[in-house]
């Protein structure tokens, strides 16, 4: 795990849920014996998206909401790489929704982890797509009136083949989930309950420690069971499930595509055009 430690120290606030995710990703890569040069972390924009600097791997810190297409482009170019997308809920569930939906549907073989803290942190505390109704934030002084986005149901509906939720206060399980997600052949999605001690005083470690539970003995191949679990949410003990909700074998885009299925384009020399090919012309 040490080998994954980046040269730059994380600049997150003390108590930020992102630290746990950094540890889980580093530990998962290390335990799976993936060499740092074969791992790529792509991220969007937001507090969480600064992660690539803090990890010793190839990092690509791109645009707000766009980390998934970048990750897919990398994976399609070089399937030998382990590609992990990492960003926040503002990033992935607002601007990134169409990419999330379509790349999940395509079942591209990448892992996408979202640090879901229900708030825009880096822009100092506006309501995000997962902010609960009634929550007062900087831009909802009278309380948020927009229903929250349900990422797990959305991604399930899209057709993702691996759907999970972790909690930053349960690093052990989060690491296990991340390992399974990386190993999974297809689009793996992990929403992480991630406390923001600065801008979300409501859903912190205490709240989730009280309310979260680990899914056990759930039928991971049952879409409707997964969908039902994804609708669970509340402020009572045992009301917010974590763990792997759904995991099925499904054809990856790369396996179905005639060109990509022939092998890594990175390792394949480009086609050499000859005079004969010009007969395609008029």
């Amino acid at each position: 795990m040490e080998s994954y430690k980046g040269k730059v120290a994380p600049d997150w606030c003390p108590g930020c849920g992102n630290f746990a995710q950094l540890r889980a990703i580093s530990a998962a890569l290390a335990e799976l014996n993936i060499e740092p040069e074969n791992a790529v972390i792509t991220s969007g924009i937001g507090c969480s998206s600064n992660m690539p600097e803090f990890i010793n791997a190839y990092g690509y810190h791109g645009l707000h909401g766009r980390l998934v297409p970048v990750a897919a482009g990398i994976k399609w170019a070089n399937p030998d790489l382990t590609v992990i997308g990492y960003g926040g809920d503002g990033d992935g569930y607002f601007e990134g929704t169409q990419h999330l939906y379509h790349f999940a549907k395509r079942n591209v073989d990448i892992t996408y982890m979202v640090s879901d803290n229900q708030v825009f942190g880096l822009t100092t505390g506006q309501a995000s797509p997962t902010t609960p109704i009634g929550r007062k934030t900087k831009n909802t002084p009278d309380g948020n009136i927009e229903p929250p986005f349900n990422p797990l149901q959305y991604v399930l509906t899209a057709g993702a083949s691996f759907v999970a939720r972790g909690f930053s206060g349960d690093i052990k399980t989060l690491t296990e989930i991340t390992k399974e997600a990386i190993k999974h052949k297809g689009f793996s999605f992990i929403d992480v309950l991630s406390p923001c001690p600065t801008y979300n005083k409501f859903n912190g470690y205490d709240f989730y420690r009280k309310t979260f539970y680990r899914l056990e003995n759930n039928n991971k191949e049952d879409f409707y069971e997964a969908y039902k679990h994804a609708s669970e949410w509340g402020d009572q003990p045992h009301s917010i499930p974590t763990g792997i909700f759904y995991e099925v074998n499904k054809t990856r885009y790369e396996d179905a595509d005639e060109v990509l299925s022939k092998g890594s384009l990175k390792k394949t020399a480009p086609y050499k055009l000859t005079e004969d090919d010009l007969t395609e012309f008029y």
């Binding site: 980046g6 040269k7 730059v8 600049d11 060499e35 740092p36 040069e37 074969n38 791992a39 790529v40 792509t42 924009i45 600064n50 690539p52 600097e53 010793n56 791997a57 190839y58 990092g59 690509y60 810190h61 791109g62 645009l63 766009r66 998934v68 297409p69 970048v70 990750a71 897919a72 482009g73 990398i74 399609w76 170019a77 070089n78 030998d80 790489l81 169409q98 990419h99 939906y101 379509h102 595509d257 005639e258 060109v259 990509l260 022939k262 384009l265 990175k266 394949t268 480009p270 086609y271 055009l273 000859t274 005079e275 090919d277 010009l278 395609e280 012309f281 008029y282």
Partner: protein
């Protein structure tokens, strides 16, 4: 031999374009130069469209003014193209023969410049098949006869086009032969076209960009459909298997450009493309490529805007958009092929430039360039893929964004050992680490900006000299960019023939402008900038760069320039009273 211009007019769904392409192929396969023009609307059935083919033993550089043979597939087409006051964006009315179905079309406007040659197209076609499009083949047979071309030359092309369907091919050949014979029996050859035994290749601009990409080692193409950029996507889709190209239509253009950046970052040459509207969505990605210094080639095919504009028409209205796309101050290279051969060559150049300088490079096309067919003048398939400076595995103290004299630093791609680093859309230092998160370092910010900008200075020093045309002792100078080149050259030929000393500067490396252009602007009676737009976007760029006075000729009706109309406009400018032209430094 003079050139011959044939036009096929009909409704959408009548097979106008297919017929045009068969005729184009017939000329091309028989050693003739071609240049075509596709006039159509954004609909699948109905309306009125046409396809024009100009052919000659000599190079033809544009669709041409004049019209020798009209194939009218309906009454409206016959009346439209024989009308002296034709309103088709500069296209000439017919002064030649009209081939049409004399049984179906009986009530039409007669024009004394036209020799009417009715042929019972439908009746002949019905003898062979019920397919209504077969009458087009009959008409083509008659047309071939009117040009004095041997039937076999045409039959071979029909077999090539319908080759996979042997029976259908023979059916078409027989129907065409009857059209051919009917014409020979009833009329005489109108204008003799001499075929030549030599190998010619003609292509659309879209296909030329596609072939250029493959020749440049491109392996992936990401895009979202939008006319007129889609022809490139279609080319790659059609040939994906043969050339091992991965083509993906993504959920939007934003995804396309970001996926293309990811793929280039990972070390596989990848292109994205769109028309102006779709490219507008890609804007943020342009800056991402520039900031992270990931090579990127973007194909931008213009159509008239703003907004949805005219989806099936042409214009050069996106120059400002392409040179201005993306927030911030950063380097980019914009290429603008002037003809189809150039579209092939500049696509190849675009990839090596993008990889050498690690920045976004644009290939600007337009609907006219993308969709018309033109003979390729010379094709050199030799190509050395130059991926620029690359770091070696385990290089010590590797700095992805090292501040070098040229501004170019060594790239490393994922999978390379010991070169792990961060590439960041935030401003960063030589290692790729963000400079603004904890303590912003103003000095590093300046050095990083300067480093990126030095790359473009290096490019300017190494750019090829600006193209010129008949510039010797020119009193008058035309400056053009992109697809207007063919029309401009023809006008210059004609005016030179009238002893007017005029030449052209042809800008195909349009941004940044080559400083050598200044040398051609001196001591001119007039500098006339020609563009397919209203406001003169290159004109303004030239003025700001070289502080010159210019005249401007713009066309913005959705059609390309025709040589005769352009000649009139240029003569108009030459004959106007002029003010002295000033050049910076004088």
């Amino acid at each position: 031999m003079d050139d011959v211009i044939v036009r096929i007019g009909g409704a959408a769904g009548d097979g106008v374009q297919s017929a045009g392409l068969i005729l184009t192929k017939t000329f091309s396969r028989n050693g003739l130069y071609v240049s075509t023009y596709n006039y159509y609307q954004s609909l699948i059935r109905g309306g009125q469209g046409w396809y024009q083919i100009r052919t000659s033993e000599e190079v033809v550089k544009n669709q041409g003014s004049g019209l020798d043979v009209l194939i009218a597939l309906n009454e409206d087409a016959l009346n439209r193209h024989t009308d002296e006051n034709i309103n088709e964006g500069g296209a000439s009315p017919l002064s030649g023969i009209a081939i049409f179905d004399g049984v179906m079309i009986t009530n039409y406007n007669k024009n004394s410049n036209v020799k009417y040659c009715p042929v019972p197209l439908r009746d002949i076609a019905l003898k062979y098949d019920k397919n209504p499009l077969l009458k087009n083949t009959v008409a083509l047979g008659a047309t071939i006869a009117s040009l004095g071309v041997g039937f076999n030359a045409f039959a071979n092309v029909i077999r090539e086009v319908f080759g996979k369907k042997g029976k259908i091919a023979e059916l078409n050949v027989n129907a065409a032969k009857e059209g051919y014979d009917y014409f020979m029996d009833n009329y005489s050859v109108y204008k003799k076209v001499k075929t030549i035994k030599r190998k010619m290749y003609a292509s659309t601009g879209g296909d030329a960009v596609g072939f250029g990409g493959i020749n440049a080692g491109m392996q992936m193409y990401f895009a979202y459909p939008m006319t007129p950029a889609s022809s490139v996507m279609q080319f790659f889709s059609t040939h994906a298997k043969k050339y091992n190209i991965f083509v993906k239509v993504t959920e939007d253009e934003i995804s396309a450009i970001n996926a293309a950046i990811g793929a280039n970052y990972a070390g596989v040459r990848t292109m994205t493309g769109s028309s102006g509207g779709g490219f507008a969505l890609m804007t943020e990605g342009v800056g991402l490529s520039a900031m992270t210094e990931v090579p990127l080639v973007v194909y931008e095919a213009q159509r008239p805007g703003p907004s949805t504009g005219l989806p099936t028409k042409t214009e050069q209205g996106d120059l400002n958009q392409v040179i201005g796309a993306g927030q911030g101050d950063f380097p980019r290279i914009v290429l603008a092929p002037g003809n189809i051969t150039d579209a092939f060559n500049l696509t190849k150049e675009a990839f090596n430039l993008a990889y050498k300088y690690q920045l976004p490079v644009f290939i600007m096309s337009d609907l006219y360039l993308a969709e018309h067919v033109e003979t390729l003048l010379n094709i050199d398939l030799d190509y050395i893929m130059d991926n620029g400076l690359m770091a070696k595995d385990n290089e010590e103290n590797y700095k992805r964004y090292e501040f070098t004299d040229s501004g170019i630093s060594k790239r490393a791609v994922p999978g390379q050992k010991g070169l792990m680093h961060n590439e960041d859309s935030d401003e960063h230092d030589e290692y790729g680490n963000v400079v603004s998160d904890q303590v912003t370092d103003p000095k590093i910010r300046m050095l990083s900006v300067e480093k990126r900008m030095r790359k473009i200075e290096d490019y300017i020093k190494n750019m090829p000299p600006t193209r010129t045309y008949k510039i010797e002792e020119a009193d008058y100078l035309v400056v053009q960019w992109g697809s207007t080149r063919g029309a401009v050259e023809e006008v210059i030929d004609k005016l030179r023939g009238e002893d007017i000393k005029i030449g052209a500067v042809e800008i195909d490396h349009i941004f940044p402008l080559n400083p050598d252009i200044k040398n051609y602007l001196k001591n001119k009676k007039r500098i006339i900038v020609v563009e397919n737009n209203y406001s003169g976007q290159l004109n303004k760029l030239l003025k700001s760069e070289f502080l010159i006075n210019t005249d401007f000729i713009g066309k913005y009706d959705g059609e390309a320039f025709y040589p005769d109309e352009l000649k009139n406009s240029i003569e108009g400018k030459i004959n106007e009273k002029y003010e002295k032209i000033k050049i910076r430094g004088e």
